[in-house]
Amino acid sequence: MSKAITANRLTDGRVVYWTAGQDWAEDIADAAVFADDDSAVAALAVAQGQTLAIVGAYPIDVVEQGPDDGVADGQIVTPSGRKVVRETIRVHGPTAGSLHLTTSVGRNGAVAELAAA
């Protein structure tokens, strides 16, 4: 399963994602996606060293969808795997008012449809 790296920003606790440029972005769409565990582990080690920028970096399972998956422009990165509920909430914020998550994803790497926001 593909991985991305996430953390909380030190100054305000906001959710951030490790980018290909070795920086931190608030939008998961800008996250670097690692196709194998070795590259994810290596990236995590670098990310965890950014102690003046973030707190608590860790890897998450993601699904990356692009034009071949019917996505019109660019890439979409969405959480997946066992922690999909938690990580989807971290992407989109609290769900108060609705049981439904903004994005529905499958488990075990299955690519799921994106529900209407």
Binding site: T11, V15, L52, V55, G56, I89, P94, A96, G97, L99
Partner: protein
């Protein structure tokens, strides 16, 4: 209400300054996160899913109007315009920036508030009956004793690094509205044979993954001996409590593993040693100090103006449910429900907080209480103004007539906010309250308690709910376990698991079905939920719920 003296004010002011330095040290890298984390926890600063969370102490749930206005200001200025009142009578802000928290603490200190010991392995906020000083069935007002315990426990040099968090609750009434049976130490005010007020002391209660009802340690502890006796309990716990396993570190485990009789023997021995030493003299509470603290909590004056109700159609229902009798003539304790149908339990906007503060000043001698049910109370409202009060509350969406009813749901923040949670709680609570309201079950069911926890830490107090909901993770999905028969107030009891965990919508339907089943099988509206459950057992509920799920 208690008024800070110079010592109190200096403590919070200096603590705020100290934390400012600690934050700067973290931001500069002089402190690592591992070094900073215990320091920020001691100042009530958690790191949650989306942001830091700041838990501000509201000692024994009592607020002045200007303090509530400050909380509104913080919500508006540093957060997203709202705050969340908790099951331990505190308030949580979900979105403060770490860089702003020193300024927040400075401003809190300006109104004699703080976030000290709202987290960490310390003695936390001492909680009590939200009707303290108003309830007619009180032996005596518990608040002076909560204030004494607060002063004794704040920055206690011996008890600041306990094996685990430590929670104390005090009830002033024979009918316990503070859930003392499920606290690490529970204290009940009682009278001895000569009529002197003292304390029956319990220990070893708690919720979480191993819920336990506390055991009685002492039938009667005198006022002057209270702090020495508490010191004895804490010292035995601090020395013998487990530090090898975070999940077995609470005093309830120590009491169970030691055996209650042996634990009591150890506490009594330590108490005797304290009393025989110079420490005993230091801990003896002088009568003059007792009188001084009690003096801050005098009874309010009567108000014999006739009650002026409201012409609004909803007034009489609200009056019947949310307005509670007061021991002083012309006064009432008014419950301000923070549980509108479909709302987030315990949340209040900054505007609502400002309004409640204004109403407290206008109609209720400027005092507000926070309840463990996540509502607010004006404890000393003047009945003569009940109509004007209702109209103002109703205009702000704060007049839901469900205090203590089934839709008065208690819910932890859950996975929408909390790092520890397995599942969401808030949307579950919202859906249940909506369905109960739409089914007309809310009023019909009476005082059924429903409480929801998003994980085994049980911050939603689900163990002591008539209908408890516990979120569990199953194969990456949110599932929920139902328990029935818990009781928080009165004689505490732990709920029993009903059956296999249920998916979200099934759980919502199941809770509503449990309420409906109770209404259907009870002998009359006077038979309370746990009485019905005792009479008929779990079977009717299990059949109703699991047939529904299939």
């Amino acid at each position: 209400m208690y008024q800070y003296d110079d010592i109190d004010q200096t403590l919070v002011t200096e603590r705020s300054a100290e934390f400012r330095e600690q934050v700067q040290a973290r931001l500069s890298g002089a402190l690592s996160e591992d070094e900073f984390k215990p320091l920020r926890l001691m100042n009530g600063v958690y790191l949650q899913l989306h942001a830091y969370m700041l838990r501000v102490a509201i000692p024994y749930g009592v607020l002045r109007a200007d303090q509530l206005r400050m909380l509104a200001h913080i919500a508006r200025t540093y957060d997203k315009g709202y705050g969340h009142f908790t099951t331990r009578q505190n308030i949580q802000f979900n979105w403060p920036a770490l860089v702003d928290i020193p300024d927040i603490l400075d401003q809190l200190a300006g109104v004699q508030m703080h976030a000290i010991q709202t987290s960490g392995n310390t003695i936390r906020n001492t909680t009590t009956d939200p009707f303290a000083g108003a309830a007619a069935d009180e032996i005596a007002d518990p608040r002076p004793w909560c204030e004494l315990i607060r002063q004794w426990s704040t920055f206690h040099p011996e008890f600041s690094f306990l094996p685990r968090k430590f929670k104390i609750a005090v009830t002033g009434s024979p009918h316990d509205r503070a859930a003392i049976g499920v606290h690490d130490i529970g204290i009940r005010l009682v009278r001895d044979g000569a009529g002197a007020v003292g304390f029956t002391v319990y220990a070893g209660g708690g919720q979480g993954r191993t819920p336990r009802v506390a055991v009685k340690l002492s039938e009667y502890v005198s006022q002057t001996d209270l702090l020495a006796y508490l010191t004895a309990i804490l010292r035995v716990y601090n020395l013998a409590g487990r530090r090898d396993n975070k999940f077995k570190a609470r005093i309830k485990i120590l009491v169970e593993e030691t055996g209650p009789a042996e634990f009591i023997r150890q506490v009594d021995a330590e108490f005797a040693a304290i009393k025989a030493s110079a420490e005993g003299e230091d801990l003896r509470v002088p009568q003059a100090e007792i009188d001084r603290i009690c003096g801050f909590f005098a009874d309010v004056e009567a108000d014999d103006r006739p009650e002026q109700g409201s012409d609004a159609a909803d007034f009489s229902a609200w009056r019947a449910v949310n307005v509670k009798p007061h021991k002083v003539s012309g006064r009432a304790s008014v419950v301000i429900s923070l549980k509108p149908a479909g709302g987030s339990p315990g949340d209040a906007t900054a505007a609502q907080m400002d309004l409640v503060a204004d109403l407290a000043d206008r109609f209720a001698d400027g005092e507000i209480r926070v309840t463990k049910e996540q509502n607010l109370i004006l404890p000393h409202a003047r009945l003569g103004d009940s109509g004007a009060l209702f109209d103002a509350l109703a205009a702000a969406g704060l007049a839901t007539a469900n205090a203590g009813l089934a839709s008065d749901i208690v819910s932890c923040p859950g996975l929408d906010y909390c790092n520890l949670a397995n599942t969401r709680s808030i949307p579950i609570a919202q859906a249940i309250s909506t369905q109960l309201h739409e089914a007309g079950l809310d009023g019909a069911a009476g005082d059924v308690t429903i409480k929801i926890s998003g994980c085994i830490n049980a911050c939603g107090h689900h163990h002591v709910a008539n209908i408890g909901v516990l979120g569990v993770e199953k194969r990456g999905d949110e599932f929920y376990q139902l328990t029935l028969g818990g009781v928080a107030d009165g004689d505490a009891a732990i709920g029993k698991i009903l059956g296999p965990a249920l998916a979200s919508q099934d759980l919502i339907d199941a809770v509503v079905m449990c309420v409906r089943t109770y209404v259907d099988v009870r002998t009359s509206a006077d038979e309370r939920f746990v009485e019905t459950l005792d009479r008929v057992g779990l079977t009717p509920f299990k059949e109703a719920v699991y047939d529904l799920a299939q």
